[in-house]
Symmetry: C2
Subunit: 188 residues, 2 copies
Amino acid sequence: MPRWEPDARARLAEAALHLFEEQGYDATTVEDIARRAGLTKRTFFRYFTDKREVLFGGVYPEGFVDEAVLSAPQSAGPLAAASRGLGALASNIDGQGATAARRIRIVRASPELWERQLIKFTFLAEALVKALRSRGVDEQSAVLAAESGIIALRVATDRWIRGVEGASLRELLEESVEELRAIASSPS
Amino acid sequence: MPRWEPDARARLAEAALHLFEEQGYDATTVEDIARRAGLTKRTFFRYFTDKREVLFGGVYPEGFVDEAVLSAPQSAGPLAAASRGLGALASNIDGQGATAARRIRIVRASPELWERQLIKFTFLAEALVKALRSRGVDEQSAVLAAESGIIALRVATDRWIRGVEGASLRELLEESVEELRAIASSPS
């Protein structure tokens, strides 16, 4: 069916998400995905290295995260600058709509996939730390700001994928950062 | 050598740490460890399930962490209560002396071991969240306080294993929590 080929990537991704939701990630093979998309395994492997790639490919392009941190106003403290970067990421995910939430829900439900996500967060943290360091933030403050910002994003994401609030991920991230600020100023 | 048997665990652990430092974790076999300790592989497996267990066994007994969170003064906010729990853990590690720092250094240097450590942190976070929840802290604040406390512990541990400051892990944890508070109150 050559006239469908331009859509192959999206069709494969949609077929994969549908099957992961329906029968679970572990039980789904690349063959199942290709069959459901009406394509061949060979075509699948033209777009993705394996079935995990459907969930992780291209979700975290770190380039624009750095840029957002660097373009924060000079007066912004380390947490505010980190939050800018994470806000750019959240907006990017918001822009992917419901598909992104479905993908994250699948990752969250599988210990193996979640483990991989945690490793991706460490790369994200490294990118944030590097960007904060170029703003003149000392190493230790940069690590604390980057990592605590990522926690705020994780908490926001958990709320977002439950979908109860009708809010965007970016709005929930901002709330979550505010809550982190409140906790950190709570009595010691 | 039956008169040495009561020391077998400590001798095996010491032999393992020595070899991990000298030739690397990956290159060291259980056989190497047993030989260096003057014991058999069979004896090794009486004390440890595998070589990774030498590094992770018994490092995080979570029971006393919970207790310390629960016994924090009623006036303590979520971050302060979480820090109490983590402070108890830090004191426990301080009590293990130089061996603990050597162990952590080896874990930090290996991506595979560090990945496992990250998973152990998620168990620690769950224990802290549960304890904070029983203090009446809401779910989201509990997660933010537990996870950001663990980040403060990680930053403190990185400084501690460099050993440059001559401070205890507990002291460095307290400094790190203070720094987190400062960052969270920095301009937005």
